[in-house]
């Protein structure tokens, strides 16, 4: 079953195994690997004794493409990495290039960017919650989640015409002014959303089966998480209060008041609680921001042709899944010399083996879900 199609140069041997150990291939076509991830599991009965993630089925050479596009031309490509959080990707890239240029977006643009990014965070977490619950067997939350996500996507659509891969930001600020009624839409959404989160929580948080399936599953200690470079909600659930929004504030985050939730145990249940609380905090940020959007220009003066001075820059933001960093080297021409992306999903996926060892097959599904990977970002 697994020997003949092994075209990935993997290191797991499929030689003679003991009577109890079998190798199970999950994916790349599997309902709960969230795309084209392939996981090779070494099983002792139903218990995982080893695992290997085999990636690259969605590799498109995004970083290489960057070397043959101008800075503006490359911006839409980054949306295709983490396609459930395209706005965040765009923000990271635009700010990195702005840093390289020495420019800064005007205040109004920064506030609008913050609002849209936080909405995107909520949308991304909603996708995570729905699919995660579906993996664990709860059929209903996914529809509730997508119902609310739809509202967010509608706001995006009204703002820039696109729903999924929005390309809503430009280097130096925004392309579009906010539409009439933008504030009302966001406000209405945020006000309704508080009650919606409670609705999800009544379905899951206290549910014995849900707690049984997630508590104590896929434990990742803070030390391990840091050693593996894990960031985002996964790290915070392990108890470290690390959030780029607080540590190196970007956009307009320094103006707003919000909490960074952390979890005590670093298990799947804590990651669930952390993400739920993050949605509440995102809502809070949106509500604060929408109260007071400064007026003024939305675009800094960066010129039509971007020619950053030679040099290099690393800029990272807190994407919904963790630290999303862009490392850009300029050789003074209109095209970047090298772009390297630090995708949170890719790094977080490294922790999978640590979490899955000793778990049961059913837990593997929960663990893949709880890392919250998007294969477009892992493979790039």
């Amino acid at each position: 079953m697994n020997a003949e199609h092994d075209n990935s140069g993997s290191t797991v041997t499929t030689t003679v195994l003991g009577a109890d150990e079998i190798i199970l291939n999950m994916g790349p076509q599997h309902p709960s690997t969230h795309g084209v991830l392939r996981v090779k599991l070494k099983l002792d009965g139903e218990r995982v004794v080893g695992s290997e993630c085999i990636i690259g089925y969605l590799h498109r050479g995004v970083e290489k493409i960057a070397e043959h596009r101008s800075y503006q031309q490359f911006a839409p490509y980054v949306d295709r990495m983490d396609y459930v959080a395209a706005v965040s990707n765009g923000l990271g890239y635009c700010e990195a290039v702005e840093k390289l240029l020495g420019a800064e977006a005007p205040p109004r643009a920064r506030v609008v960017r913050t609002i849209l990014t936080e909405l995107q965070r909520i949308a991304s977490h909603l996708v995570w919650l729905g699919t995660h619950a579906l993996d664990i067997g709860a059929l209903t939350p996914v529809f509730y989640c997508f119902r609310e996500r739809e509202e967010i996507l509608k706001i995006f659509e009204k703002y820039c015409g696109a729903r999924l891969t929005t390309h809503s930001f430009r280097i130096g600020g925004l392309q579009y002014e906010t539409y009439d009624g933008f504030e009302q839409d966001v406000k209405r959404f945020c006000e309704d959303f508080a009650q919606k989160i409670d609705e999800y929580e009544t379905l899951l948080t206290e549910n014995r089966i849900w707690v049984g399936r997630t508590k104590g599953v896929g434990i990742l200690s803070a030390e391990d998480a840091i050693a593996l470079g894990v960031t985002g909600p996964v790290l915070r659930a392990s108890g470290r209060k690390w959030d780029i929004r607080k540590a190196f504030p970007y956009a307009a985050y320094d103006q707003y008041d919000f909490e960074i939730p952390t979890g005590p145990a670093g298990d799947t249940y804590d990651r669930y609680l952390v993400r739920m609380e993050e949605m509440r905090q995102s809502r809070r940020i949106c509500l604060q921001a929408i109260e007071n959007i400064p007026s003024g220009p939305i675009m800094a003066k960066v010129g039509k042709v971007l020619k950053p001075p030679p040099g290099e820059v690393y800029h990272s933001i807190e994407a919904p899944k963790g630290e999303l960093g862009y490392y850009i080297v300029s050789d003074g021409t209109t095209q970047p010399y090298r772009v390297r992306v630090r995708p949170p999903s890719f790094i977080n996926l490294q922790a999978f083996d640590r979490m899955a060892r000793g778990a049961l097959v059913a837990d593997v599904v929960a663990i893949i879900g709880t890392i919250d990977i998007v294969l477009g970002e892992v493979d790039r």
Binding site: M1, I22, L24, N25, H30, P31, S32, E46, A133, L134, D135, I136, G137, A138, L139, T140, F143, Y144, R147, L203, L204, N207, I209, W210, G212, R213, G216, G358, L360, V361, A362, D363, V364, V365
Partner: protein
């Protein structure tokens, strides 16, 4: 010669006709149970469900059936073709065989076997072979894992569900399906009120036995793709599907017969008559219900966008009106006919309610993990069921010897005792789990 043969086959005519009706009608009915499931699911998930084929998706089952029949029939390479072929047939045969002893109303029963309920349990316990052999014959890890899980799960939960049934059977004092209903009529109480804990155990056990969520591990989509059905497609897959829904109806029918009063009308002591007639209000309820549905369909008819949909909707309205007419006419028919038709209505209504509870549970709860499922079965349900049998038995003795005439009195006492036992078991299980986790797994 011919009269002799006629004489010989005469006792078989009615059962054979009933059997043919069930085998012929049930697959269609299963299709509509699927439609119902999808509609209920859609309702709970804030969406519409199938709307395309026919008005409100009413022709969807037929479309699905045609699609499944036209699909390519794939037998995987290196599969054991004989068992691969035979397994789904086995599954569906055993599931439909159980219908032989189900009393759908006092008049409509293929055979009143004096070990009826055991017969149904026996036959439905054979359905496991369809799953296990199918999973093995597919020659796939997912299928085999699903099959093994299924075998372990069915064996465990059959025990619990069986013990749950026994507590009800203690009250019934018979294994014949007809006598069980009769006993409830005589005692004047449905056994769900006499042994609520037994009913609860059977409910959980029957969900697990039919592989429905939250116990649908053998076909857990997110883990094992589709479990034992992974390699099946087209019509064979449809057979498995049919077997699953048939099993669902069978367990619902057992529960209805033993715990929910079978074909008996609710509130037998309530005798409010309709003004100006001698017809009882509750007896007239079915026809009123069908009439309302018919009128509602009629109201929806002009709103259908396509002509063919209008026609189908009109047919639905006509069908419901016809049923209402039949139910109403039965009120004036001689007693056996009246009880037969109305009994069938109440029986099917109760089965429908039980199945609805299944669906409700399915869309509300996440899925158990395998070890949790086993723990729930062996550490909670089976001990609870064992204690329940003893407590209910003792309660009956006490009731008979001490002269507690009212059946509900001992029911209340035994239920309170059982609740205490359940709390204790849950507490003990949690403590055990804590020590296991403290010891670091295993």
């Amino acid at each position: 010669m011919i009269p002799a043969i006629l004489q010989a086959i005469r006792p078989f005519i009615i059962p054979v006709v009933c059997g043919v009706v069930i085998v012929g009608v049930f697959p269609l009915m299963a299709g509509y149970i699927v439609l119902l499931e999808r509609k209920v699911m859609a309702d709970m998930q804030a969406r519409l469900g199938p709307m395309r084929v026919g008005p409100h998706g009413l022709l969807q089952p037929l479309a699905d059936a045609f699609k499944l029949m036209l699909k390519e029939d794939i037998i995987p390479a290196h599969a054991d073709w004989f068992l691969f072929w035979v397994a789904p047939v086995m599954s569906v045969t055993m599931a439909l065989l159980a219908f032989a002893a189900l009393p759908i109303g006092p008049a409509f029963q293929i055979a009143d076997i004096n070990v009826g309920i055991l017969f149904i349990l026996a036959v439905s316990s054979l359905g496991i072979y369809g799953i296990v052999l199918g999973g093995w014959a597919s020659n796939s890890h997912y299928s085999l894992l699903g099959a093994l899980r299924s075998a372990a799960q069915l064996v465990s939960y059959e025990t619990a569900a069986g013990l749950g049934l026994i507590s009800g059977l203690l009250y019934a004092g018979s294994l014949s399906m007809k006598d069980i209903v009769q006993a409830q009529s005589d005692r004047g109480v449905w056994f769900i009120f006499a042994v609520p804990v037994g009913f609860f155990i059977y409910f959980v056990g029957s969900i697990a036995e039919t592989n429905r969520a939250p116990f649908d591990l053998p076909e857990a989509e997110s883990e094992l793709v589709a479990g034992y059905m992974t390699e099946y497609s087209g019509f064979r897959w449809a057979l498995y599907f049919l077997a699953e829904y048939a099993n669902m109806v069978v367990v619902a029918a057992i529960a209805t017969t033993l715990f929910l009063g079978g074909w008996l009308r609710p509130f037998p002591g309530y005798h409010q008559t309709l003004p100006g007639t001698s017809i009882e209000l509750l007896d007239a309820l079915p026809s009123i219900l069908f009439l309302v549905v018919a009128l509602y369909s009629l109201k929806l008819t002009p709103r259908q966008p396509v002509k063919i949909q209008k026609i189908v909707m009109l047919l639905v309205a006509g069908g419901c009106a016809l049923l209402a007419l039949v139910m109403a006419a039965a009120l004036f028919a001689p007693d056996p006919v009246k009880i037969g038709i109305h009994g069938a209505f109440w029986f099917l209504a109760k089965v429908g309610g039980y199945v609805y509870a299944f669906l409700w549970v399915r869309f509300t709860f996440p899925r158990y993990r395998f070890d949790q499922l086993m723990r729930l079965g062996w550490r909670f349900l089976i001990p609870l069921a064992l204690v329940n049998v003893i407590v209910v038995g003792s309660g009956m003795i006490v009731q008979e010897n001490w002269g507690w005439r009212h059946p509900l009195l001992s029911a209340i006492v035994t239920t309170l005792i059982m609740l205490g036992v359940a709390v204790f078991l849950a507490y003990d299980d949690e403590k055990h789990q804590a020590t296991v986790q403290a010891a670091g797994g295993e």
